[in-house]
Every structure is written in structure tokens, then in C-alpha cells.
């Protein structure tokens, strides 16, 4: 670690900093398997959303006021949020849109944004962290300061404010950019540390002594050794992005209607939480389950790759 000032920062850093706690033995491989299967099922469901909703005969945007009781303020008819053969998970109060379809499409949007944002932050973080850690000196000073700066931002406030003034067009892309931009220092810091220690290893000197140029040293010698940490950062960054995207959409600055996303579904359900609890419980449980599954998976990846085998 460089100066003490570079020691970690809030939430996500903590997550990433947390040493392997040995969940491989703690939660056993079964939990990892279940998580992996759950994530795969979710991914397939998200990809197949148009097919699945066609099978269910619903669409995420079509109103069905017939499923609602107008005199009760637009509450779904029948109990349990209007679950019926036509609407497998019930309908949205006030509009009668099919919840199954909306949740499926929401999954698509949420996962797409999280994965893309993770890709952006991991690629940015890896490249910049690599450069900072490997070259040190001037490059490290600049990149390190930028990382310090970004991590000193009250990022949630800032992201919300930024999203709220940003133009309406292409919210998904914007979310990816904002999440990626504020996320990369966390990946960057880890990669930087690893790159720094790797660059002091003698095999790098050996390659230099053999006449390798800087690009080869960076990408041919050091980068392959970062695959482990980068993979860990990526798996742990996905749930963080899922949760943050949901948080932003929950606060009303995420994706715009009628595009559904988990956070937005939960936000719309907030006024109804007393009258129609299933409306927020369903997307909420899915969000929780997904974040949990990715976290379990992230722990497993970290344990598998941690050379220290912290969990032994």
C-alpha cells in the first residue's frame, strides 16, 4: 500500500477489501452451485423475456384496467396482487399491467446495465490501475489523485444529481456510464496494488533484461497475472452495480418509463406497500436474491483464486 491515504474507502471498497472469509467452507459448494444456477436461469429468462411473455400472453406495457377495481383506487381484483391464470404474478395497481412481464423485462434491463457498467468500470480500472501501478511516479500520482478524488465524492448524491439533470435520451447508456465512471477506482485501486507488487517481481526484470518493451511488459507479463484479482473485482462489482442501479431507479433518476427495472418497480410499489405488499415483495425478493447469488459467487471466486487461501 502506498501512503496511508490510499487505504480503502466506503462501501464497495470495503466489500472488495474484505479478506476472503472462507465462505468456500462456510457456505459449502452447494450454495455456490445454487447461486450459479440461479444466475444462469435469470440470465436465460432475461434473454428469453419476449418469448416467455408471449407464452404467458402478456406484455409489459399493455394496460388491463379490467383486472383492477376502480372503486378501490385501482387495487387489483382478487387477493394476492391479482394473481390469476392471465397474470401469473398479478398486476400492477393503477394500470393493470402484467407483473410477470414487467419483472422479466426489468430483469433484462437491470442485468444488462449492471453487466455493462461492470465491464466499463473493470476495463477502465484495470487499464488505469495497471498503468499507475506499473509505471509509478508521475502516472501513479495523477491516476492515484483522480481515484482519491472520485472516492471522496459523495457518489450516491452526486450520481442522483447528475442523473436528474442529464438529458432524457438513452438513460440506460447514461446509467452504464455513470456507474462505470464512479466504479472504476475500486477496481483500479486493487489492480494498482497488484500491478505494483507484480512489477517488482523478478520475472518483469528478467523480461526487461531480455529486451522486452514497455507494452510487452505491461500486457504480456503483468496483465496475465491480474486475471484473478480482476475476475474477483468483476464478480463483486456486478451485485454492487445491480444494487446501485436499482437504488437510482428507486429514487426516480434511473431508467425512464415505460421501461421497467427492478428499482423502478419497487419505487412504484412504495405507495402501495400497505395495500398490495406483493407488488413490492416480488421484485424486492428477486433483487435481493440476485445480489445475494452474485455475492456468494464472488466469494467463491475469491476463495478459489486467493493465493493466501485466507479461508483455510
Amino acid at each position: 500500500m502506498r501512503a496511508p491515504s490510499t487505504r480503502a474507502a466506503p462501501l464497495r471498497a470495503l466489500l472488495l477489501r474484505t479478506r476472503s472469509v472462507g465462505t468456500r467452507s462456510v457456505l459449502a459448494n452447494r450454495a455456490t452451485t445454487v447461486s450459479l444456477v440461479a444466475i444462469l436461469v435469470l440470465l436465460v429468462a432475461a434473454l428469453a423475456a419476449p418469448v416467455l411473455t408471449a407464452l404467458a400472453g402478456t406484455s409489459p406495457t399493455a394496460f388491463d384496467t379490467g383486472a383492477l377495481d376502480a372503486n378501490l383506487g385501482g387495487l387489483p381484483r382478487g387477493g394476492f396482487g391479482g394473481i390469476s391464470s392471465a397474470h401469473w404474478l398479478g398486476v400492477e395497481p393503477g394500470s393493470g399491467r402484467d407483473l410477470f412481464a414487467r419483472i422479466l423485462y426489468g430483469t433484462r434491463v437491470s442485468l444488462l446495465i449492471a453487466l455493462a457498467a461492470t465491464a466499463v468500470s473493470v476495463v477502465l480500472g484495470t487499464v488505469l490501475g495497471l498503468v499507475a501501478g506499473f509505471f509509478g511516479g508521475w502516472a501513479d500520482a495523477v491516476i492515484g489523485r483522480v481515484m482519491d478524488l472520485l472516492m471522496s465524492f459523495p457518489s450516491l448524491i452526486f450520481m442522483i444529481a447528475l442523473m436528474s439533470v442529464a438529458p432524457a435520451a438513452n438513460r440506460e447508456l447514461l446509467l452504464v456510464a455513470v456507474l462505470g465512471f464512479f466504479g472504476w477506482p475500486y477496481a483500479g485501486r486493487i489492480v494498482r496494488g497488484q500491478a505494483m507488487s507484480l512489477s517488482r517481481r523478478e520475472f518483469v526484470e528478467a523480461a526487461r533484461a531480455l529486451g522486452a518493451n514497455r507494452r510487452t511488459l505491461l500486457f504480456g507479463e503483468v496483465l496475465p497475472n491480474l486475471a484473478g484479482p480482476v475476475l474477483v473485482v468483476a464478480t463483486l462489482s456486478i451485485p454492487a452495480c445491480v444494487a446501485t442501479e436499482a437504488g437510482l431507479s428507486f429514487l426516480g433518476v434511473g431508467v425512464r418509463p415505460p421501461t421497467p427495472s427492478w428499482g423502478q418497480l419497487i419505487a412504484q410499489a412504495v405507495p402501495w406497500y400497505a395495500a398490495d405488499p406483493l407488488y413490492f415483495l416480488l421484485p424486492g425478493a428477486l433483487l435481493f436474491g440476485t445480489v445475494l447469488a452474485f455475492n456468494v459467487l464472488g466469494d467463491a471466486v475469491r476463495d478459489a483464486l486467493d493465493p493466501r487461501g485466507g479461508g483455510r
Binding site: L11, A31, A161, L292
Partner: protein, 330 residues
């Protein structure tokens, strides 16, 4: 050490300045014309021009930013003549919405945020660290597995979901707690606790999970250190070995991370305060964002960044005090 402190504070100030500039540019340039927003609906073009003049919006951006900075350190006077208003140090401007000085808004909202942050911090520190340390000592036991599974669950639970669940179950369904509202500890301690218990628990669920994992990891590593073996070889009682030799090094990173988390929370627990409707700094931020109240957004961002940056400095100093290797380093 004094030099170091001063230098860190200097860097912190510089950092805040950059944050301030970035925020200023983004929020004063991107949205619609502030004059138009300030004018309201019955507003003609000539009136907008007048407002632009009063707000100084015609002047170049660096000039506006300069006036803002001067205001922060020395206060400033808005407008001219009979209607001029003086805004004393530290002047963060006036809310577009309520016309109150932003600084006063922040200061009046701070107690709520502090109540939430401190209470939650005590809760998660006690629960999380205790659970993590016990897990490390009983590695692989049923306790360890249960605690770590719970910790992972806590980390994965989004705050607004926890908050909604608590409200639904504890307030609506069971009626055990009232809807949270802002009460001062000094006015009605019982109501204060009743109002705060849900926000505390909501935040603590997340952070306790993080801290349990952190504490366990650090403790496991610490227990494996050579000097712990030395302590055992001296014939020290196991309790002394654990508490004196293993726990102290394990807690150093916990303390530093804690400082930064607390700093971030003091700047407003945005989601928690919004969901529970508690008028803290975080709620102020979300309200200001909803109403595009630029001076307040800028003020809150700076205020919160100030806490984070100062927490960083404090943590570095505490770290130096905790670790003699750093303290005596040359």
C-alpha cells in the same frame, strides 16, 4: 506529525476545491436556465432578463464560481440597494426553493443525520465486530457458518427494501413502532429511540454484515501471525493472546474503515432518510435534487464531501497513532 496533519489538511482542502468546481460546473451549466426556474409561470422575457442580472448569470462561469468561493470563505452580498441580502460566512448561497441560506439548512438538518449515523454505527460496530471476532475464533463452527451466511444476506439486502419491510411489518402490520419522525433526543428520548430504531437497524444490517466479514478476515489473519505464536510460546493465557496480541492488529483496519463509513454517513444517509421521511441532510439532498434546487445540491454535495475528506484525514491520523510502525517511520 503536525506537518503531516497540516499537509493532509491542505490536500483535503484542495480535493474539496476540485469537487466544488466540478459540481459547480455540472449543476450550474447543465440544467435549464436557473432564471427561468426562479421566475415561475407568469413570467415574461424581460422579467427573466432582470433575474439573470440579479443572479449574476450573465457573467462568465469562472466569475460566478469565483463569487461562490469568496462567499464560502468570506460571505457575500447578493443584489444591490434596499433588497440586497448579506450571506455570512460560510455562505453556500440561498435555496432557490425556500430562500433560506444553504448553510443554515445544512446545520439544522445535521442533528437528524448525526442521530442516525451514530446510533447505527454503535449498533453495527458492536454486533458486526463481535460476530466477526467470534467467528474467527471458532472457525468452521456452526456459529461461524450461520454468522457469515447472515452477514452475506445483510450485505445483499438493499437498504430501501429493508426499510420498506421494516415499515410494513413493524409499523403497519404489527403496530409496534410509530412512523419515524424527527424528534430531538433532548426533548423526548423515548420517541427519539422509537423513531430511530428502524433507521439504525436498517443501516446496521448492511454494515454489520460488512464489518463481521471484515473483522473475521482480519482476525483470522491476525491469529495466524508469528507474533501470536510467540505470545503462546511465552506461556501467556489464551485470553491475553487473543485480546492483546491478535485483536489489536486486527482492529486497526476496522477502525480506519469505520472512520470513513461514519464520515460518509454523517453527510447524510440519503436512501434511509428518504424512505423513512426523516429530515436529515440526505433527505435535504434528495428533496433538492427533486426540485432542481442547485444551490442546495451544491451545498449538500460539498458538505458531504467535506465529511468524507475530513474522515479520510482523521483516519490517516488515527492510523498513524494506532500503528507504531507508521508513527515512528522516517
Amino acid at each position: 506529525m503536525i506537518w503531516y496533519t497540516l499537509r493532509r489538511l491542505g490536500v483535503a482542502a484542495l480535493l474539496l476545491l476540485v469537487i466544488c468546481a466540478l459540481t459547480f460546473v455540472i449543476f450550474y451549466v447543465m440544467p435549464d436556465d436557473p432564471a427561468q426556474q426562479a421566475c415561475g409561470k407568469a413570467c415574461g422575457p424581460e422579467r427573466i432578463a432582470q433575474i439573470r442580472d440579479t443572479l449574476g448569470l450573465d457573467r462568465p462561469l469562472y466569475h460566478q464560481f469565483g463569487s461562490y468561493l469568496v462567499g464560502v470563505f468570506a460571505g457575500r452580498t447578493y443584489g444591490t440597494g434596499a433588497l440586497s441580502v448579506h450571506c455570512g460566512f460560510p455562505c453556500l448561497g440561498f435555496s432557490f426553493q425556500t430562500n433560506e441560506p444553504v448553510w443554515r439548512l445544512l446545520v439544522t438538518r445535521l442533528p437528524v443525520s448525526v442521530s442516525i449515523a451514530i446510533g447505527a454505527a454503535v449498533l453495527w460496530l458492536v454486533v458486526g465486530v463481535t460476530a466477526g471476532v467470534i467467528s474467527a475464533l471458532r472457525r468452521g463452527s456452526l456459529w461461524d457458518r450461520a454468522a457469515m451466511a447472515a452477514a452475506l444476506g445483510g450485505i445483499s439486502l438493499p437498504i430501501y427494501l429493508t426499510a420498506l419491510l421494516f415499515q410494513y411489518v413493524l409499523v403497519i402490520k404489527l403496530g409496534w413502532l410509530p412512523h419515524p419522525h424527527a424528534v430531538s433526543l433532548f426533548v423526548d428520548p423515548l420517541a427519539w429511540v422509537q423513531s430511530m430504531i428502524m433507521p439504525w437497524t436498517t443501516l446496521a444490517l448492511l454494515y454489520a454484515g460488512l464489518y463481521a466479514r471484515l473483522a473475521r478476515g482480519e482476525m483470522v489473519e491476525s491469529l495466524g501471525r508469528d507474533f501470536v505464536r510467540t505470545a503462546r510460546a511465552k506461556g501467556l493465557p489464551e485470553r491475553t493472546v487473543v485480546l492483546r496480541h491478535a485483536l489489536r492488529p486486527a482492529m486497526t483496519p476496522v477502525v480506519t474503515v469505520f472512520g470513513m463509513d461514519l464520515g460518509a454517513l454523517l453527510g447524510g444517509a440519503l436512501i434511509t432518510e428518504s424512505v423513512y421521511g426523516l429530515p436529515g441532510v440526505g433527505k435535504l439532498a434528495s428533496d433538492a435534487i427533486n426540485s432542481a434546487d442547485q444551490p442546495v445540491i451544491l451545498g449538500v454535495t460539498l458538505f458531504a464531501a467535506g465529511f468524507i475528506v475530513l474522515a479520510n484525514v482523521a483516519v490517516d491520523l488515527v492510523y498513524a497513532l494506532l500503528d507504531p510502525r507508521v508513527r515512528h517511520a522516517t
